[in-house]
Amino acid sequence: MRAPGDGHGTTAGEVLLAVEGVSLSFGGVKAITDVSFDIRKGEIRAIIGPNGAGKTSMLNVINGFYHPQQGRIAFKGETRKRMRPYVAASQGIARTFQNVALFKGMSTIDNIMAGRTLKMKTGFFWQCLRHGPALNEEIEHRKFVEEIIDFLEIQAIRKMPVGKLPYGLQKRVELGRALAMQPDLLLLDEPMAGMNLEEKEDMSRFIIDVNNQYGTTIALIEHDMGVVMDLSDRVVVLEYGRKIADGTPAEVSADQKVIDAYLGVPH
């Protein structure tokens, strides 16, 4: 599946995001306990684990939606303070969701355009007129969005309302929306959940291409072990909110704890 001459990730980049000793609980229920790992620039990092291992909570912590009670998160070398999620977005973190969270009433284009909101600057006055700077800006960003549409091969559904699209396409549009933010770190929450083999292959190709073409660092949660082993450079394994392994796909899949917790269980 890899393109020839491809050598990404193996040459470790600098640390983009560091998670240190993070614990998170909801009213006494521990979701994450003392987890540390890092994500390096340019790699595809997978977070795996059985159901309820705290994977999605981990993503929610990373993009500032949950605030851990303990521990430290450093993004681009800076320790992060408590903040609202949109700050994470403006720092360059984008994500997709386990159960597609598209804007159902809007078209594919508008969904992806919404991902450009942060980069659009023209003021209210020009927006009222939708001419001059506002129109120019709209056109400039539309071009960018069209590049993404081209990239993801969703031209045919460009103007359709996303609510009516099949699931696999919705996931693609959601990826497009995240890409529109030109993120430094892209978080994908089970990008291939509920897809058939062909759709999974397409999605894998897109993920690799995103990583390859735009150099975007990607952290993804995935259940399909085959996909994870194929896609990712490094894998961190969680179980009951604790980290039980961390390393290359080969290392991780050889780890006895991981085999016990996850790989041994067919699903």
């Binding site: 909801f26 009213g27 929610n60 939606f65 969701f97 969270a101």
Partner: protein, 318 residues
């Protein structure tokens, strides 16, 4: 400084200076709180069982009251009129279920909410068409409700309690107890509680969703009739009540949309709060603040505890 004194200190000085007045005010607040609570109760019943935010509860109170008086004016004896009115409320419940709820099943909440607006307007229209737009006197004596007042001396002054108010409080308490009994012990009651949790669960009890809807709307109708009698006995039965019934909304916010005790406690807090506010702070701004104070109390409350008094903390999930 003066204004601060007037707002922050003076009212409490007054309360201390004339505790009898304070007791009187609290009592009046309590009584209107009971009525708010009764309307809120109707909301909660329906919301719990069908997820419908029933905006029409207020007009149902008016409608029930008007129907009762209307029957009596036609020469029907009071008790029989009550029974006939209950029949009308049952018919209303059945038609609401048939005409409105059944075709709208599985629609988003907002749509059902809007549908109850439609019901409201229909009831207003029919009520006005049949009974005319003028206020009517409630047939309190005919229903053997006590009138007059008792007065007793306490705390250096007189406190006057209307007997009808006492009756209202007592009847409300009895009805709430009856409802609690109904929910806790009967099969239908259990089904109703089950349906609040999951529609499938309710089906497994062997009662269809449609029946449940009829039952809750009818129950809400009974509550509305009782509320209508009580309220009508205190003032008159008129459409103005419909706007006052909106006060049930802040009550619900305080108490939570699904909690019966919440509705009662919320109703009392709002009732007492706005009476005291009006009495002690109202004059500072020219009076009449009763019309909006309840909403501000609820709003302030919302900002600090969005889940209501008895609700659980909401964890947002993605």
């Amino acid at each position: 400084m003066d204004i601060l004194y007037k707002v922050l200190i003076d009212p409490f000085v007054q309360m201390g200076a004339a505790p009898d007045l304070l007791v009187q005010t609290v009592w009046e607040g309590l009584v209107s709180g009971v009525l708010y609570a009764l309307i809120a109760l109707g909301f909660v019943l329906i919301f719990k069982a069908s997820g419908v935010f029933n905006f029409a509860q207020g007009i149902m109170v008016v409608f029930a009251g008007l129907t009762l008086v209307g029957f009596h004016e036609m020469g029907v004896p009071a008790i029989l009129a009550v029974i006939l009115t209950l029949g009308v409320m049952f018919l209303l419940a059945v038609s609401v279920e048939r005409v409105v709820l059944r075709p709208l099943v599985n629609q988003p909440d907002i749509i059902l909410f809007m549908a109850t607006f439609g019901i409201t307007y229909l009831l207003i229209g029919f009520g006005e068409l049949i009974f005319g737009g003028n206020p009517k006197r409630m047939i309190a004596e005919e229903l053997y409700l006590p009138t007059g007042s008792i007065e007793f001396q306490t705390l250096g002054g007189f406190v006057q309690l209307q007997k009808i108010d006492i009756a209202a409080a007592v009847i409300a308490a009895i009805m709430i107890a009856a409802l609690a009994f109904f929910f806790q012990t009967t099969r239908i009651g259990r089904a109703l509680r089950a349906v609040a949790d999951s529609h499938k669960a309710a089906l497994s009890v062997g009662i269809s969703l449609n029946q449940i809807w009829v039952i809750v709307w009818f129950t809400a109708g009974i509550v509305a009739l009782v509320t209508g009698i009580m309220w009508g006995a205190r003032s008159d039965v008129s459409f103005a009540l419909q706007v006052i019934a909106l006060k049930a909304l802040p009550v619900l916010i305080l108490g939570g949309f699904t909690s019966v005790p919440g509705a009662i406690v919320g109703g009392l807090i709002i009732g007492i709060g706005e009476k005291i506010g009006e009495f002690y702070w109202g004059p500072l701004v020219g009076g009449g603040i009763e019309s909006w104070l309840a909403y501000f109390i609820a709003l302030g409350f919302l900002l600090f505890r969005p889940q209501g008094l008895f609700g659980e903390k909401i964890i947002e999930r993605i």
